[in-house]
Symmetry: C2
Subunit: 420 residues, 2 copies
């Protein structure tokens, strides 16, 4: 369960009602027309879970129990969401296979990740909507050479692809007879975590992806039934203040939430940072912080710096960990003994509350999301919450939330550097 | 060696000369008067390196070779810098002992880190300027209970403290007869990496801290000899554009630079986010990105979003890693074959260049720092470069660069929560 609270003022004037209704209408149309596909994923991807369970039996490497590691070769939308879920769930020790990520062209990083893997115990999943991502194809070739993978021979069951139907990567998979899962055409990379992109590797790793999808689906249904109106109000507040408060901080009070923040940063930054229909450069800058660590770092700026930020706190109500500060008093450092006998769970959430109160006193707009416990269903709800929020703010800003034209130029320049 | 290039326009008008001269004067006075202590650290801390080498002989746990792990208990300025250097150097495999960090009140994180350590092979270093940091003292007590540490008995050589002379933590260390190193009073937490805070754990870990200090000292000398004028010009540019371009992005093209970014984020955000002498909320928002990963995430926002950002690129010219994209052509994904036969080192730096060019075409102000190779001396120079830049911009913004009054309120609120 997620609990949402809002500490910023929102009147709900007629003008604001009109903005919210219009955005709700746009998003509903995107959903119903099938123009934008991510809304359908919580339902549509349920069948994928069964397909992967079939694969666990039919793929002889997987069914033999030889596979302990899954190497994901993918960048941006093809890795951030998987990492976010994996990081949150890792400490639960429910996974049966370990995920590894190849997501940068950094040679030291690739070398280090390669060294952790043994061919015999590893399955490789190559993820790219198009197949034209230079890091992805280059790392795939490197893995082929490093491990001596025989795609059309002994290792045809060891490599899988996740891509758009008909893409060059799809044709590559077809040519070598590799297992293949497809991403719906109308689902963009950064909205694809609940498609095959996330569901296949996460199911193979042993996570309960059915619960992930069900959690997302339940929230989506409530939203379209107008039972999660706070989402519209938050979108409207962010939109109306977007010129003055152009920075949205996500302050997560748990180390394992850091990768969810990175997923949010891509979703928010890349979706909303656009030239809008009036040819204006608009957008909101996302920042992910980790509490209580960043109370000792970034907080001073939020409190005394320019009033250009809104802050959303995420807390975990029950860490399911009872580590307690022992009732020990040490000579000369008795000043912090007042916390003795409390759990760290209590401490970190009290730190969050204290920080929140201090921000409110400094007139920083604040809202909060409390997760009762870490689990797949709650993570699914968080994912769809942020996707819906992004779509709503995008509709209000009048941008195309789903494209990324600004990054094409760099790719053209890179290509030219090697083809002159 | 570091190479600095600037791709933003800077005229050096008379007014700008005056701003730069004034800030240089302020910083020189801080240095010469001894009011601010970090400028002296590259010189002053050299003797610490020898002291730690003595300790390696005199501490029976260290001299016996039993110690393979160093647990650092410290938050913010007492951990970020150490982590930054350790992350950059880790892949070189030159360290002799592994560093572990306790830096959050997150129970799952603390439990996980405790589980990695064995008492027999671990030394604990407690770092806090005052001794009043609630996470630090709480984690220390937890480690004492978890490992059954006897501070005034068998384990008095296993725990050390790094703190201000005369602080409560210093008195605690004195009471139990623990090894102690002091941070000069006039050195703030976020400027303390080249004091005992960084030098002691990094020397114990086996890094060449003499080279770190020498690299920092050489850069500092050149700056005060006015041989690094680009630093003043950059500070002036950032200051003059601080209202419109209030976000400074550090785009590092190497995974291992991520923790240096986090160190920079604290330094920049906490030093400059202030109420200035005219009672105005000023400051600049730092953001750390990792290339090429974030080309697939944040870049769209920088290019098409609001023109509120400057971007500094950091590259590693020579990763000392010759991992090469094999000359393999895979059916249907031949489109990226143009990169075959090149090293990943070449690819990632070409990606950086291409991104930089695309930003320039979008009128985003850009500058670059190229590190020839990763090594202690270059890291030292990077550290002092960013500290000096922070001091210069702080002087121009007319803030107190070295305090953090905004975070006190949250501490008071937290205390009240447990004392009612």
């Amino acid at each position: 369960m997620l609990r949402f609270t809002r500490d910023f003022a929102f009147e709900g004037t007629q003008a604001q009602q009109a903005i919210m209704e219009s955005a709700f209408g746009t998003v509903s149309k995107e959903y119903q027309s099938g123009k934008i596909g991510y809304y359908n994923l919580p339902n549509k991807s349920l069948s994928l879970v069964g397909e992967v369970e079939e694969l666990l039996k039919s793929n002889s490497l997987l069914s033999s129990g030889a596979i302990t590691d899954i190497a994901v070769i993918g960048i941006g939308g093809s890795s951030l969401g998987i990492k976010a879920v994996d990081s949150l769930m890792a400490s639960k020790n429910v996974n049966t296979r370990k995920l590894h990520f190849f997501e940068n062209s950094d040679p030291v990083n690739i070398t280090g990740t390669l060294a952790k893997l043994k061919k015999e115990s590893t399955i490789f999943i190559v993820i790219s909507k198009s197949g034209g991502t230079i890091e992805t194809t280059s790392i795939l070739k490197t893995a082929i050479a490093y491990f001596g993978l025989e795609l059309d021979g002994a290792d045809s069951e060891r490599v899988m692809v996740i891509t758009d139907k008909g893409s060059s990567l799809s044709q590559f998979g077809g040519h070598y007879g590799l297992s293949q899962f497809n991403i719906p055409d109308n689902v963009g990379g950064r909205f694809s975590i609940l498609s095959a992109v996330g569901i296949v590797p996460l199911t193979l790793a042993g996570y309960d992806t059915q619960a992930l999808l069900d959690g997302a689906g339940a929230f989506l249904t409530r939203f379209f039934n107008q039972d999660e109106q706070h989402l519209l109000e938050k979108a409207c507040f962010i939109y109306e203040n977007s010129a003055e408060k152009s920075i949205n901080v996500l302050f997560s009070y748990a180390n394992d939430l850091e990768n969810l923040s990175k997923w949010y940063v891509q979703l928010w930054g890349e979706s909303l940072g656009k030239i809008n229909i009036y040819k204006k450069n608009v957008g909101l800058t996302p920042i992910g912080l980790v509490g209580a660590v960043d109370q000792h770092s970034f907080l001073q700026l939020v409190i005394e710096g320019p009033k250009d930020k809104t802050v959303t706190f995420i807390t975990v109500e029950d860490f399911e960990n009872d580590l307690t500060i022992p009732d020990i008093s040490l000579k000369h450092i008795e000043k912090t003994d007042f916390i003795n006998g409390n759990s760290f769970n209590t401490l970190i959430n009290a730190q969050c509350d204290a920080t929140k109160e201090s921000l409110l006193q400094s007139n920083v707009p604040v809202d909060s999301i409390a997760i009762d416990k870490i689990g797949e269903a709650n993570i699914g709800a968080m994912i769809i919450y942020y996707e819906l929020l992004t779509s709503l703010v995008g509709a209000m800003l009048q941008v195309n939330t789903y494209d990324q034209p600004g990054v094409e130029l760099g790719k053209v320049i890179l290509y030219k550097k090697f083809n002159n």
